[in-house]
């Protein structure tokens, strides 16, 4: 009997969200298949890659490869240009880690200056990530949304604790895209989308960050959650879970011991640079296979590898 392929068709699809303005924009989502199931239907928009830079410059960067790539860039604006020009990059992600009150605790004004410098230096689509402290982000991210009016940037992240401040500023007042971050749980992800849309934010202007982990660090929860979110969005047509998913990878992977332990301490593990890249590539590849529509990376080699993977599979 000849093989007769049955296509898995869904009457629902992931929302399409376009980040950026002018000539350079990037569009994610739009598929009505499971990730890379191009045999069921061609992909509308292949997954995208963002390159992450920090307001702290290269201060917290351990990787020699990343440092070498940005060699010669003396300002954050120049770093942003190099990031935008990286082979395989679709957009730039600026993380404002210096704002953390438990860290350097930069003032909101200082950080807004950094945001403006980056935005002025590039015309690539931009994602801005907060400092991860919910109170500080509630103060900082509405200002970021205001400063970047008209650029249609994605603001990461609005959480359950500060959704009113960030959702209202980014989603309503300044018409940016709201990144809704939850903690690796399908119900919590949906609940945040529900309350955000009840604020009046357009569901088509929400992107989810459902939370992530480095591969090997409870990562199976991430896979299961993404998988079930895609399942509910497509098979149950759950419009509160049809937002595309973006996953910041580097912030997780460059902090684990596989990336930070030196070769001197762990000779049997091999060179740390290679390990750091491997962690980033493995985690990002798994995120994309599980359902992420975009990933945020740092190392040029990781970006190149993931870019090749997307081209081969999408």
């Amino acid at each position: 009997m000849p093989f007769n392929q049955k296509l898995q068709k869904f009457n629902a699809k992931i929302n399409t969200v376009t980040i950026g303005s002018g000539d350079k924009t990037v569009t994610i989502g739009g598929d009505s298949t499971y990730p890379f199931y191009s045999f069921d239907a061609p992909s509308e928009n292949a997954p995208k890659i963002g390159v992450e830079i920090s307001d702290m410059g290269l201060e917290n960067i351990v990787s020699e490869g990343i440092k070498a790539y940005y060699d010669g860039a003396s300002t954050i604006g120049e770093m942003a240009k190099k990031a935008a020009a990286m082979e395989g990059a679709d957009f730039v992600a600026l993380i404002l880690e210096g704002g953390d009150p438990n860290g350097v605790n930069k003032s909101v004004d200082e950080l807004i200056a950094v945001v403006k410098e980056v935005a002025d230096a590039i015309d690539a689509p931009l994602v801005v990530e907060g400092c991860k402290n919910v109170e500080k982000d509630a103060e900082l991210l509405p200002k970021v949304a205001e400063a970047l009016q008209g650029r249609n940037v994605l603001i990461l992240s609005e959480k359950e604790e500060n959704y009113k401040a960030i959702g209202a500023a980014a989603g309503l007042a300044y018409d940016q895209i709201v990144g809704a971050e939850s903690a690796v749980d399908i119900n919590l992800a949906k609940q945040l989308n529900v309350v955000t849309t009840q604020l009046g934010v357009n569901a088509q202007k929400i992107v989810m960050n459902i939370g992530s982990a480095a591969a090997g660090y409870g990562y199976e929860y991430v896979v299961s959650t993404m998988d079930r979110i895609k399942g509910a969005a497509l098979s149950q047509n759950d419009n509160m879970l049809q937002m595309p998913i973006i996953t910041p990878v580097s912030a997780e992977t460059w902090g684990v011991k596989e990336a930070t332990a030196s070769e001197k301490d762990m000779p049997e593990w091999g060179p740390e640079e290679e390990r750091g890249i491997d962690m980033e590539v493995m985690t990002a590849a798994a995120d994309l296979a599980a359902g992420s529509d975009a990933v945020i990376l740092r190392h040029p080699e990781a970006v190149a590898a993931i870019s090749r993977m997307i081209k081969a599979l999408a």
Partner: protein, 646 residues
């Protein structure tokens, strides 16, 4: 030594002495002053507030007391140390849980009807309402110089002849009064006996003219509330009814805290005393006084309670219940007598225990299952007992499954800042105007009683109304502003039901975002347990024919509102039935009827216990249910419609 004076709002005072550095809450406990401290006194719940009237206290500042309140002298008892002579006011809300023991006269028809219906239902199910206690008339020949048999043998022979039973036991209490009673009544007596096929036990003896009623005591020992009925064992008539807060509350709000407390030196005795000497014995005294019934004529008792409570009641080590593999000392036992545990009734009285099924599904549930009659129908029914632990039984005449989930004390008003049991001053029902956000409520007590707090049914109504009126979002956070919406300096919102001046308390009666959050978790635990149990059987909520709701949440529970907040599944409202305190009713039936007692043992051994913590989907279901009404609104179509219509 310093003098500590506790003043109450009614003007009474209690004095105690303490050393410098002693914890005020401990001093209060030592002096038998009831201050509610559900968190066991570690500063987490903020309920043990007292007001400093004079003197000094060394108090840590906490989040629970605002600067303004601190200025007014408000302190948390658990965070205060004695440093001088001091006088503190214990406000009503802090002692409300002790809730002035309530002895109900039997005017309430509904109360009586519950017991009458239960009796009728078990009889219809073919269970005979009879027990082994009876009063028999015995006449003996008086002794003479020719007939020198001692009194006890004389009685034994007469009884043997009467009932044709070989073995007759006469306890010391009867022996002691035997010579006098026999002679006073000229050897014509009444005996209270328990007769089985080959054994007879003589509880008591009276002259033949004495009017003897055999008393029985059925009691439900809840983690938060204890209730009891005194009955006539011959016909089941209820002579008195009583309820009171469980005296163990001051040692922690939930069973785990109680078990932990019982492991401290002398703890087991303290907890047993708290429930028996401080709670049950005073209830017995009050009931006997109101019914003019002698305590020592109560010859049998039946206890229905959760596994931890019956272990603590019996004074048996309960620690193994708490630690893996969670093994109780007994499921069922016949070995308990009144004198063993110091219950103030006839000391030879036998104590029947409703059987446990597991560490977290106890006798209260087996007794309740007996009452719900889900075992007697082919249709599928769900029985829910809303207590500090929520327990469920699902099934029909062919099978029964049970499980327990930890709902916390919220249904009985615990863990809620203005929460209280359904006693005088509790708001038990409420509606809110969508436009003005003004509340209208019903208060427990005589007309004109001022609101003091909220009981379980009131909390359900308030949250349902706040949600339907769009005042809170599905997460329980306030999204509208107005005169009745307040925010504290940390931004936490609250809704004021009664401002201080309209309330019968020292502060506003309000519900805060934290209260709502606690309640959402309690209702989420119940709903997710229902879903998990049904899903594991491959059942859907639409297959439930009847839902029987029991528990101390209050007879006024509005089922529609309970569905609105997502506590119960969205099925037609006429399928829900409130069956009152089924644990007490079940204890009553087991007490009155030996066949009912046997039936309960049989039900217990036929129930399958499902441990939710080992079911992987439970956690997922729980998070999904911690949203009003549910993350998946598709499960609550009528609620969504109601919101549209309001």
């Amino acid at each position: 030594m310093f003098k500590v004076t506790f003043s109450f709002e009614d003007g009474s005072v209690v004095e105690a002495f303490a050393n410098a550095g002693d914890n005020l809450l401990e001093v209060a406990r030592g002096a038998n002053v009831a201050i509610d401290a559900p968190c066991s006194g570690n500063g987490a719940c903020g309920k043990c507030r007292v007001q400093l009237k004079s003197g000094e206290l060394e108090s840590k500042k906490t989040l629970h007391i605002s600067d303004e309140e601190y200025q007014e002298g408000w302190r948390l008892a658990c965070c205060s140390k004695i440093s001088a002579d001091v006088n503190v006011l214990v406000p009503d809300i802090a002692s409300a849980y002790k809730s002035r023991m309530k002895v109900a006269d039997l005017s309430s028809k509904e109360e009586i009807a519950i017991f009458e219906n239960a009796k009728r239902d078990v009889e219809l199910a073919g269970i005979e309402l009879k027990n082994s206690l009876e009063v028999v008339d015995v006449t003996m020949d008086p002794p003479s110089l020719d007939d020198t048999m001692p009194d006890n043998e004389r009685l034994t022979r007469a009884l043997r002849k009467y009932l044709n039973i070989s073995r007759v036991r006469i306890p010391y209490a009867v022996l002691k009064k035997l010579p006098d009673v026999l002679r006073e009544s000229n050897f014509s007596v009444k005996c209270v006996i328990r007769a089985t096929s080959d054994d007879m036990f003589v509880y008591d003896i009276f002259g033949k003219d004495e009017d003897v009623v055999i008393g029985g005591l059925a009691i439900d020992i809840g983690t938060t509330t204890v209730s009891a009925v005194l009955i006539n064992m011959e016909n089941g008539e209820i002579l008195a009814k009583s309820s009171a807060g469980n005296g163990q509350i001051r040692f922690g709000a939930d069973v785990i805290n109680r078990i932990v407390e019982s492991q401290k030196p002398g703890g087991q005795q303290k907890l047993q005393d708290a429930v028996i000497k401080e709670t049950i014995n005073p209830m017995i005294s009050e009931m006997c006084k109101s019914a003019k019934f002698p305590k020592n004529r109560i010859y049998r008792m039946c206890v229905a309670s959760n596994t931890t409570m019956n272990h603590l009641f019996a004074g048996i080590n309960s620690d193994p219940l708490r630690t893996e593999p969670y093994i109780p000392a007994f499921f069922k036992t016949n070995s308990l007598f009144a004198s063993d545990v110091g219950i103030d009734i006839n000391k030879d009285a036998h104590i029947i225990m409703a059987p446990n099924i597991g560490s977290y599904v106890g006798g209260d549930i087996t007794a309740g299952t007996l009452v719900s009659q889900i075992w007697n129908r082919p249709e599928f029914s769900l029985f829910i007992d809303l207590g500090t632990n929520g327990e469920l039984v699902f099934g029909n005449s062919d099978f029964m499954m049970s499980c327990a989930c930890s709902a916390g004390p919220a249904f009985e008003g615990g863990d809620i800042s203005c929460g209280m049991r359904a006693t005088d001053g509790a708001i038990e029902a409420c509606t809110i105007d969508k436009e003005t956000m003004e509340p209208t409520y019903k208060i427990v007590g005589d007309p004109g009683t001022k609101p003091v707090g909220l009981c379980g049914s009131g909390i359900i109504d308030v949250i349902s109304e706040l949600y339907i009126c769009g005042i809170i979002n599905p997460k329980g956070k306030f999204i509208r502003e107005g005169k009745r919406i307040k925010h504290d300096k940390y931004g936490m919102g609250s809704y004021v039901l009664a401002f201080e001046e309209e309330a019968g308390s020292v502060k506003d009666v309000e519900i805060t975002e934290v209260d709502i959050d606690n309640f959402i978790r309690a209702k989420g635990a119940i709903f997710s347990a229902i879903r998990t149990m049904l899903t594991s059987l491959d059942f859907d909520v639409s297959m439930i024919d009847d839902v029987y709701v029991a528990g101390g949440i209050g007879s006024g529970i509005n089922m529609q509102n309970a569905v609105n907040i997502g506590m119960f599944p969205d099925i037609p409202i006429e399928k829900f039935h409130y069956i009152g305190n089924s644990s007490l009713t079940g204890a009553y039936l087991m007490l009155l009827s030996t066949p009912a007692e046997k039936k309960t043992y049989e039900l217990a051994s036929n129930m399958t216990y499902m441990e939710l913590s080992t079911v992987p989907i439970y956690m997922d279901e729980f998070v999904g249910a911690c949203f009003i009404p549910h993350t998946d609104t598709g499960m609550f179509p009528t609620v969504m419609e109601e919101i549209q219509n309001r």
